[in-house]
């Protein structure tokens, strides 16, 4: 298969120098430490050294812009399972235990089975890919993820001909996710567990990444350890974190944000500067680390690869 090269790829890797130094110290630190699966809880701003994850960089998936600092990536998160503030996930990350962890793959597949996450990690050679991530709130980052195309998993589990959608479910555990516990204003919280979904062709798209790490190490808890999905041409909330179940279904899944506010969040959630959120514009975004806002790109800059999947669709109606 011919891999379409994005025209504005540079052959040289642009890595922030402080980041480069950070990576070295993390590798050294992690090697010196016992290889504990989940990093210790550190309240300090620098992220704890986590187990390194070897991966070959896939040159076909690079971004012209510099990657966002690791500290920002791991301390500015929307992960309401921990809490609704951006610093809650990093602060409370220690409550999540990413091992032992299983992922149930079932629904319309040839052989439904529950896999250990380490088993699933071996279903494909791990690659490092640099993707843009655009949050529906209007900020964005550039992150080097580590994983393999979800298509590899899908082909292995053999969905039946009736399967038309893939549904991802995040862990629901009141012990590990303090944000899921009922509080005073429970009427205003999300319906747990967090459910997201993709059309089968979207799930098979080479960009869709079953992700196990970032920046050369395993996923920090606040970024969705131990396994998540990353769909770079859609708003960030589509990229479900800490997945425990992947189910193949014939009907379009009802996703959590769609249930919470159906006029604001739909199923497709494609990044689209021409379709505003009812309460704010999506024409511009703030790239974390930059001062001025920048124009949002159609499909987050991945239009070449994905626009054909939506040919003929009214994207204002299918938001």
């Amino acid at each position: 298969m011919l891999i379409r090269r994005d025209p504005d790829i540079k052959s040289s890797e642009i890595t922030d120098f402080t980041l480069y130094l950070n990576r070295r110290s993390f590798m050294i630190g992690a090697a010196a430490l016992a290889l504990a699966p989940s990093g210790p809880a550190v309240a300090a701003p620098s992220p704890p050294a986590l187990q390194p994850l070897q991966a070959k960089r896939n040159e076909a998936f690079l971004v012209d812009d510099p990657p966002t600092k690791l500290e920002s990536v791991t301390t500015y998160n929307n992960f309401y399972e921990f809490g609704v503030n951006k610093d809650d996930p990093a602060r409370l990350a220690h409550t999540l235990k990413p091992r032992p962890w299983t992922v149930q793959v079932d629904g319309l597949v040839a052989r439904p089975k529950t896999y250990d996450v380490d088993e699933i990690m071996r279903f494909g050679p791990l690659e490092e890919r640099v993707y843009r991530l655009r949050c529906v709130e209007g900020w964005s980052m550039v992150i080097p993820w580590i994983g393999y195309p979800l298509a590899s998993l899908i082909k292995r589990v053999e969905p039946t001909s009736k399967a038309r959608f893939v549904e991802f479910t995040t862990l629901r555990d009141l012990e590990q996710f303090p944000g899921q516990r009922p509080g005073l204003f429970s009427f205003s919280s999300l319906d747990w567990p967090y459910v997201e979904g993709l059309r089968l062709d979207e799930a098979l798209q080479p960009l869709t990444l079953l992700t196990f790490g970032l920046y050369g190490q395993v996923l920090p808890n606040q970024n969705g350890a131990p396994v998540r999905v990353v769909v770079p041409w859609k708003y960030g909330f589509k990229s479900g974190k800490s997945i425990v179940r992947i189910r193949f279904v014939s009907d379009q899944p009802k996703t959590t944000w769609e249930k919470a506010a159906p006029n604001e969040y739909g199923f497709y959630t494609n990044v689209n500067p021409a379709v505003d959120h009812p309460r704010w514009s999506q024409a511009t975004e703030r790239r974390i680390g930059e001062f001025r806002r920048r124009k949002t790109l159609m499909f987050n800059g991945y239009a070449d690869q994905v626009a054909s999947m939506y040919a003929g669709m009214d994207l204002k109606k299918n938001y």
């Binding site: 500015y76 900020w139 005073l184 205003s188 319906d191 009802k254 506010a261 009812p278 309460r279 514009s281």
Partner: protein, 267 residues
Amino acid sequence: MWGAALFPLALLLCKFATDDLGVNPIDYVTRTLGDWTLRILLASLSMTPLRLLFGISWQMTLRRLLGLFAFFYASLHFSVWIVLDHFFDWPQMIADIFKRPYITVGMAALTLLVPLAATSTTRMVKRLGGANWRRLHKLVYAIGVLGVLHYLWLAKKGVNDPYWYAVALGILLSIRLGDWTRRFAKRRLQRAAASKREGYQRIQRVLLFVLLLIGLTAGIVPPAGGQALRLGRPAPEIAGAPWINSPPLTLSWLKGRVVLVEFWTHG
């Protein structure tokens, strides 16, 4: 009091100097300034309730100072929005003011603060005359409501802070309402026979309180038809609830059947 009111700004400047504004600094600064605007505004609105509840009155002189500081922080909040968030993109901003309800009410609250700030001096009180001045400054109640709605309508589902402000505002306004109703009823009592009126007075107070609650609750529902649950609309399908001694039931299955709904709790 000046020190206390300027403290949040000093803290922000300190954080700016030590680069401690977080990952998304412009967002953090805007939100912090907005938070303090609301808090100082609510503080100003709580001076009179303190007198009504506890009879103390030394704090009444603070109302003007707090009101002006609320205006100060609101202006900073607005300036940051213009300069740092949108960098003078006037067409986008003006469009936003009309298109985004939360910005509309925010802009309205700020606009209403201007005449209040302009007429805050003792000289202006004399120029307008006491009664007129008091009538103008009753606008602060509307400003409070608009400010809380601004935050409520901005926040995503799951963010609870705005509800706390709404509760605080509700309490402060209902204390005033209770007092106003009492004085109103008292005046009428002085003109007519007593006992029958007492009953009506109580009903009136409750009715007005309920109206206020409904008004505030309406603020909880975002304007763009937002949440899945709305008064008067068909109920959403039951999902995710734990079922005891029954297979999961759905509303669509129950349609056409007689259903008894019992609300109970324990503890």
